[in-house]
């Protein structure tokens, strides 16, 4: 096993946040991580959504956003980790097409867009985590 390939298909704040934390700690420890953000998983990465902190979530999300000691937001977390270790974040081309979006509609954490074949190629030697 040479790292993790994470599929993030949920817009739930807690899941997005958990993916950013696990991916970041792994990459910081020199374990390669590819994150493929697809389906509704893309929604929380829209620039407007991040600016308004308009996330879908439950009790933990509410508590995290109002806590005194806060975990970094997933966007900052991923950016920081990318500077330290082998972490790539890709946006699903198909989901973006359906929404009529391009990469400029999202915060600047994506390395590129990617399709299913591209993801599977990058995931070949990795353990896949589906969120």
């Amino acid at each position: 096993m040479t790292g993790y390939a994470v599929v993030l298909a949920s817009e739930e704040f807690e899941r997005v946040q958990a993916v950013s934390m696990i991916a970041s700690v792994a990459a910081s420890s020199d374990v390669p991580v590819e994150v493929f953000v697809t389906m509704n998983g893309l929604n929380p990465f829209e620039t407007e959504t991040v600016e308004n902190m308009d996330f879908e979530g439950g009790r933990v999300a509410d508590a995290m956003m109002s806590a005194d000691t806060s975990s970094p937001l997933f966007t900052e977390q991923l950016e920081k980790a990318k500077a330290i270790g082998p972490l790539q974040v890709y946006a699903c081309e198909m989901a973006m097409d359906v929404l009529g979006n391009d990469l400029e509609d999202y915060v600047d954490v994506f390395d590129d867009t990617l399709g299913v074949s591209g993801f599977l190629n990058r995931a070949k030697d990795k353990q896949i985590i589906f969120v």
């Binding site: 934390m21 970041s24 700690v25 910081s28 420890s29 806590a67 005194d68 000691t69 806060s70 975990s71 970094p72 977390q77 920081k80 980790a81 330290i84």
Partner: protein, 80 residues
């Protein structure tokens, strides 16, 4: 107030940041310093006192001590 004889070469102040902030800050610092350097991590995050030792062991560094200062923990790690 607990005390230790350990002298840190570098201090990482992660008080006020929650999981995985303190660990990430420590990893960043450990990457920057030479072997043998003792890094002190200051954190108020309860999870860090269990999670940091797990990382230290996996990354083959040395956990020297964890001091409970009441308000926060001082975790001493030697890069090996």
């Amino acid at each position: 107030m607990s005390e230790t004889d350990i002298q840190a070469d570098e201090t990482v102040d992660a008080i006020g940041s929650a999981c995985p902030g303190p660990l990430m800050d420590l990893i960043g610092k450990i990457k920057d310093v030479d072997d043998g350097t003792v890094v002190e991590l200051l954190t108020g995050d309860e999870g860090s006192k269990n999670d940091v030792p797990e990382w230290v062991e996996e990354a083959d560094h040395e956990l020297l001590d964890i001091i409970d200062d009441g308000e926060y923990y001082s975790i001493y790690v030697k890069k090996t």
